[in-house]
Amino acid sequence: MIGTRMKGLDVGKIMADFPILNRVVNGKPLAYLDNSATSQKPLQVMEAISHYYAHSNSNIHRGVHQLSAESTAAYEEAHSKAAAFIGASSMEEIVFTKNTTESINLLAYGLGSRLGKGDEIVVTQMEHHSNLVPWQQAAKRAGATLKFIEIDQKGELKMESIEGSITKKTRVVSVVHASNALGTVNDIRMIGEVAHENGSVFIVDGAQSVPHMPVDVKAIGCDFLAFSGHKMLGPTGTGVLFGRRDMLEETEPFIFGGDMIREVSFGESRWNALPWKFEAGTPNISGGIGLGAAIDYLQGIGMEKIEEQEKSLTSYAFKQLETIKGLKIYGPPPEKRIGVISFNISGVHAHDVAEILNGEGIAIRGGHHCAMPLMHLLGVAGSARASFYLYNTREEVDRLAAALEKVKKIFSV
């Protein structure tokens, strides 16, 4: 340690935990730069899952036998780990879902009784479809209106639009913390204050922020936080909904069945305690345990260090990409974004960019990033997107820049 400066990450040591990073793709070493879509998984997560299946596999909350007790304890412990990870008060505030999309749908249905004719729901113009379509449909069911906080030319939310959109009629404000398409990090603490001053529920879509920076639900002042386990080294099919205890108590379940009930007669049912009233049926037990191992892994490294490493890599990538003539980056400067860089090369479609990069072993995304209204606003059909995580290196960024020059050469632009 030099002074107060944090020691950087040992990326070489981290890479050794991810066997997939040794893959050769089209004759070149894999450079995986599609982390916003899903992250890779370390051995520790795979081992946690195979250990569970090899030693404890059984259903939870049912049997009195040894295996069921072990499975129940491991699955509940994963909830506790998730609670500690985001600063929740207890595991009762943590509902496991299959992804961010399901977490938000749970709310769009579960908060439905709060919505009536003439009420308003507020989201932003930079939402992923998963935080747009559920509210569009909830508004239709309730006869409510869906309003959008506007973005400016730089891809940041307009201050006056935040204050103008959220009013006394607003019942729900649901805002993305970090944009998957632009990388913009929003000032959600401030938006939450405006929401609460107006008596609204405040929901944060943390799919792209929770994996990449320290997020504390009390510090950001949200009522609900939705995020995905598979974007933070956990298995696919895992997601989380945090809800403040009193808010979850008031939220109706939207999937009904076993394990979510306390008492059932032929005519009536009473719901189980938190968080189980929202986890009907046999859950993704191995996935939840794998997510717990992913959280252990991230905490072992430290979210501050991960954030710092990604910021440094993003600034470096900006410098490299900005020197490429005809390449346009969308969204704010590197200091105001996560490690997501959306761009286009003039005269080349994003899919062709992604195709040529694939030939170089570089995995990026090309398309509309499930944010079609936003892409329309930017006046593009889609963009190419490179997104980083803790195992990415400057060398991979250099390969990205060189491959983009190759794209230009092939297309003579």
């Binding site: 080349v348 899919h351 062709d352 195709e355 040529i356 694939n358 398309g367 509309h368 892409m375 889609g382």
Partner: protein, 135 residues
């Protein structure tokens, strides 16, 4: 495990003639009074193509235009397809399989890009089906 054929990956599909059709698409534009006008869209990547066909008295294609916009594969596929259509009857076009479209393109196409390659073909087929059902 290495099941992916790498022949079509990367720059392999960007042959000179593909890039030429992409940059200078043949028969680009619209047609007034086209009997057949049909639009297809690939929501995944935003590729879109609208095809216009003018028929003569015998039900054969007299003229063709399109407004393909998107990636190099979909635009060049539309451009090349448009060059083959004049003089063909709708029956002849209806008999065309997707293999002949891929043959026309003349480059190896993997499973990921096949939707781009076939978008113009489906626009053509869709236009003819809609026209026949209106008759």
């Amino acid at each position: 495990m290495e099941a992916i054929d790498t022949n079509y990956a990367g720059e392999g599909m960007y042959r000179e003639f593909i890039l030429d059709h992409f940059k200078n698409p043949r028969n680009f534009g619209t047609l007034e009074n086209a009997e057949i006008r049909h639009r297809e869209f690939n929501p995944l990547c935003g590729d879109q193509v609208e095809i216009f066909l003018k028929l003569n008295g015998d039900g054969a294609i007299q003229d063709v235009r399109h407004t393909a916009r998107g990636c190099a594969i979909s635009v060049s596929a539309m451009s090349m397809l448009s060059e083959t259509l004049r003089g063909l009857t709708l029956r002849e076009v209806a008999g065309m399989g997707k293999e002949s479209m891929l043959g026309l393109l003349g480059i190896p196409i993997g499973p990921v890009r096949i939707k781009c390659a076939l978008l113009p073909f489906y626009a053509l087929k869709g236009g003819i089906i809609a026209y026949e059902s209106r008759k």
